[in-house]
Symmetry: C2
Subunit: 512 residues, 2 copies
Amino acid sequence: MSTISLCEPKYLELKNRLTQIQDLEVAACVLNWDQTTYMPTGGTYARGRQIATLKEFAHEKFTDPSIGELLEDLRPYEKSLPYDSTEASLIRVTRRDYERAIRIPSEFMAKFSQHQAVSYETWVKAKSLKDFSLVQPYLEKTLELSRELASFFPYKHIADPLIDFVDEGMTVSILRPLFNELRQKLLPIVEAITSAPPIEDSCLYQHYPKEQQLKFGHTVIERIGFDFQRGRQDETPHPFTSSFSIGDVRITTRVYEDNFTEALFSTIHEVGHALYEQGISLELEGTPLAEGSSSGIHESQSRLWENIVGRSRGFWECFYPQLQGIFLQQLSPVSVSEFYRAINKVANSPIRTDADEVTYNLHVMIRFDLELAMLEGKLAVQDLPEAWNERYKTDLGLVPANDSEGVMQDVHWYGDMVGGMFQGYTLGNLIAAQIYEAAVKFDPEVTFSIERGNFTLLHKWLKHNIYQHGRKYTANELINRVTGKPLSIDPFMRYIQDKYSNIYHLKLPIVA
Amino acid sequence: MSTISLCEPKYLELKNRLTQIQDLEVAACVLNWDQTTYMPTGGTYARGRQIATLKEFAHEKFTDPSIGELLEDLRPYEKSLPYDSTEASLIRVTRRDYERAIRIPSEFMAKFSQHQAVSYETWVKAKSLKDFSLVQPYLEKTLELSRELASFFPYKHIADPLIDFVDEGMTVSILRPLFNELRQKLLPIVEAITSAPPIEDSCLYQHYPKEQQLKFGHTVIERIGFDFQRGRQDETPHPFTSSFSIGDVRITTRVYEDNFTEALFSTIHEVGHALYEQGISLELEGTPLAEGSSSGIHESQSRLWENIVGRSRGFWECFYPQLQGIFLQQLSPVSVSEFYRAINKVANSPIRTDADEVTYNLHVMIRFDLELAMLEGKLAVQDLPEAWNERYKTDLGLVPANDSEGVMQDVHWYGDMVGGMFQGYTLGNLIAAQIYEAAVKFDPEVTFSIERGNFTLLHKWLKHNIYQHGRKYTANELINRVTGKPLSIDPFMRYIQDKYSNIYHLKLPIVA
C-alpha cells in the first residue's frame, strides 16, 4: 500500500508531462488546420518548418528516458487498479506508445519526413501530368524506408508493425483471410447489381448553389448532434477533422455546385469522426487517451453516420421534405424513393472516394493486397501500375483511363508510406455494421427514431459505449465489449444484402 | 583567422536553435490569433494551457546554458564582423535577450503569468460592474510582482528595467523631462483649440454598413501597400497585428456601423505595424532579428500611417471621391474640406483609444506618471482612482463618469504589469513625426505623391531605412541613422502646430 501511494505523485508527473507533449502536438495540428483554411500563400515555407519543429520537440520530450523510468516506476500502481480505470489505461497506453516510439531512431524519422515532403510534391506534379514515371523513384524510396521502419520492430509479416501503428492488434494473418472472404462474397453481389437495370441518378447532378448546400448541411449536422459551441466547420480542398481539445473539434468540407452528394455526405462523414472526438470523456482531456481507439474504429464512426444513417431511407423520410423546400426547382419532380435510390446507386467506377458502399471495399482491398505484395518484395514499384490496372479489370471490370485516375489517385503511398494505409477503411465499414447491429439489437427504437429526426438515442448509445472511452480499449477489446463478438464480416454482409436487395429488387446471395 | 572560421559552425548552430525557439513562439501566436478569430468557446480552457506550454518550452530552450556558451564562443566571430552585419547583429541582440532572460527565475515567470490570468479575468468583471475595489487587491499584487521583476536587474530608476523590456535604451531620466516638456507645450495648444468653435463631425456618425466599410478599407490598405499574398485581415473585438513569418503577417479589425472612423483608422494603424513586419529583410527570416526594433519604433509606423498619412489632407484628396461614391447618401452633402476637418476634430475626452492626435499624448503621460508614482511607492493602489481623476481634471478638464471609463479603461495594468506599459505610445507619436519629417526632407515628393494615391515612394523609403533592418538597430540607433538627430519632441510639435493652425484657423504657440 505504501508503494502505491508513493507512486501517485509520479502518476501526476507523468500525466502533466504527457499533457505538455500533447500541447505541442495540438499546436502542430492547429498550424496545419490554419495552413489549409486561412493561411496566405506567403506563409507556406515557414509553416512547414514550424510544424516540423513542434513535432520534433514533441517526439524529443516523449522519448526522453525519464518517461520510460516513470512508466517503470508506475507498474505497481497500475497493477493495483482496475484495467479500465483512467489511471491504469493511461499508463498502459502510454507504455505501448513509448515502447513503439523509442524503437524508431530520431534521425530516421527526420530522414523519412523529409523524403515524404519531397515525394508528396512530386506526386502532385506527376498526378497533374498523368506521368507515374516521375514519382516512381520516390515511391521506390518510400517502399525502402517503409521496410526499414518495419524492421525496427519484431514481426511475423513485414506489414504488421505498420498496420499496428494505426490499427493496433490487427495483423496480416487476421486481415488477409477476412478480406479475402469479404471479396469473395462481394464480387457476386456487385455482379448481380450491375447486371440489373441501372438507377437513374441525374437528379443529383444539377446545379446546387453552394450557399444553400452549406446551409442545409449545417442544419443536418446540428440535428445529428455536432456541437457548434465546441467545434466549427470551414472549407478546404480535402475535407478532414481535427481535434484541438474535447471542446474544440473542427471539420472541413468542400462543395461542388454540380454534385449534390459530395458536400453533404463528406460533411456527415467528418461529423461522424467529430462526434467521436467531441464525445470523449472530459476526464481524459489533455492526455493521450483523448483520441479515437484506432483507425478502423474512427472510420467506423464516420461511415456509420455517413452511410448507415445518412444514406438510410428513414433519414431521408425525415430530411427530404426540407431538402425539396430548399431546392424546389431541382427536386420537386423527384420522389423520396427516387432520391433514396439515386444516392445509393451502385456502379463500378475507377475512383475509391467516389465509390458507393457496395464496391468501396473492393477498391480498398486492391490497395491492401498491392501494399502487401510490394512489402513482401513480390511486386516491384515499376510494375505497380500494371498490377493495379489488372486488378481493377478483375474486380471492377474496368481499366482506369490513366495513372492519375489509377495508381496515383490516393495520396497515401506518396505522402505517407507503403503499409498500414488502407485496411482501416474496410475495417471501418465492417465495424460500423457490427456496431450498428448491436445498437439496434439493444434498442430497435434506434432505427425508428432516425425517421423522426431524432438522433439522440443512437448518439447517446455510441457515446456511452464507444466515444467516452477514447483510447482506453483497443479496437478488438471495444468490438467485443460493445457487440459481444469478435470482428466479423457477417453484419456488414447482412446490411448490404438487406439494403440492396430492396433497392435493386434482387434476391442477393445469402451469407452462409 | 582560424578561430573565426571555427566559430562559423557554432553560428549556424545558434541560428538554427533560435529559429526553432522562434517556431515555438510563433506557434503560441498562431494559437492566440486563432483564439480571438475563429476558435469555438469550448476551446477556451485547453487553449490557455496550450499557449502557456509553448511559451514555457520556448523560455526553457532559450535559457539553456548551452545558448550562453554558444554566445560566449561566438565573441571573436562577432568582433570580426561589421556591427550591422546580420551575423554580428544576431549575436549581439541574442546576447542582450539571453542576459535579460536568465535573470528572471522560471518559477517567478510562472507565478506572474498565473497571477496575470486571474487579474485579467477579475478586471473584465470589475470593469463591467464599474467596481475598482474588486480588482484593487490584484493590482496591488501586480505592483508587487512588477517591482520584484525589476529587482532582478540593476537600475537607476525602478521602472527602467521594465521600460527597457520593450523600449531598449529608454530610461526614466530620458523620458521624464522629455514628456514633461511635451506636456507643457501641448496643454496651451489644447486650451487654444478647445476654446475655438468646435468642428461639426456628425457626418461620421451616420449608418455606415459593415460590408461597405470593409470593402473600402480593403481597397485603401491594398493601395497603401499591404500585401494580401503575405497576409490577411480578419475581425476581432480588439484589433491587433501578428506576424507568423515575414510571408504571413495578419491584421484584425472591428467595425462599428454607427461610426465611420473606428474601423478605417484602426485598420490603417494595424497596417502600419504590418508593413513594418512584411518589410523585414528575408535574410532575417526565422531569427530574433525578424521583429520590430522596439515598442516605440513599431508604434511610430502605425501612427505614421494612421495619422500623418491617413488623416492628411492629401490622402483624402485622393480617396474622398471614392468614399463618397460608396456612401453617397451619407456623404454627398459633405465636402472634402468638411470631411477632413471632421476626422481631425480635437476634443477633451475620457478614453485614450478614442482620443485625437493632439490630446492623445496627454492620456498616455497621465498613465506614465502614475505608473512611476506607484513603482516609486509614492502612490498606493487604493489611491489610484482619485489620482487618475485629479490628473484628468487638470490635463483634460474632465472627470471620468466612473472607474470603468477612468482608471480601468486600459487592460495593461490588469493583464500585464505596472511599468513600461505606456511610454511606447507617446514615443511612437514623436518618432513618427521625426521620421516623416526626414522622409520629406529627403524627397519632398513624398507628400505630393500621397495626394495622387501613390504610396510607393514613402513605403520604399521606410522599408529601406527602417523596415528591412528588423531588430538590428535599437530605437535610438535607428532614429539617429534615419533622421541624423537624437529623439526630440520638436518635429511632433511642428507637425501639430502646422496642421491644427490650419484646421482651426488659429495661430498656435510656436516652439522656441
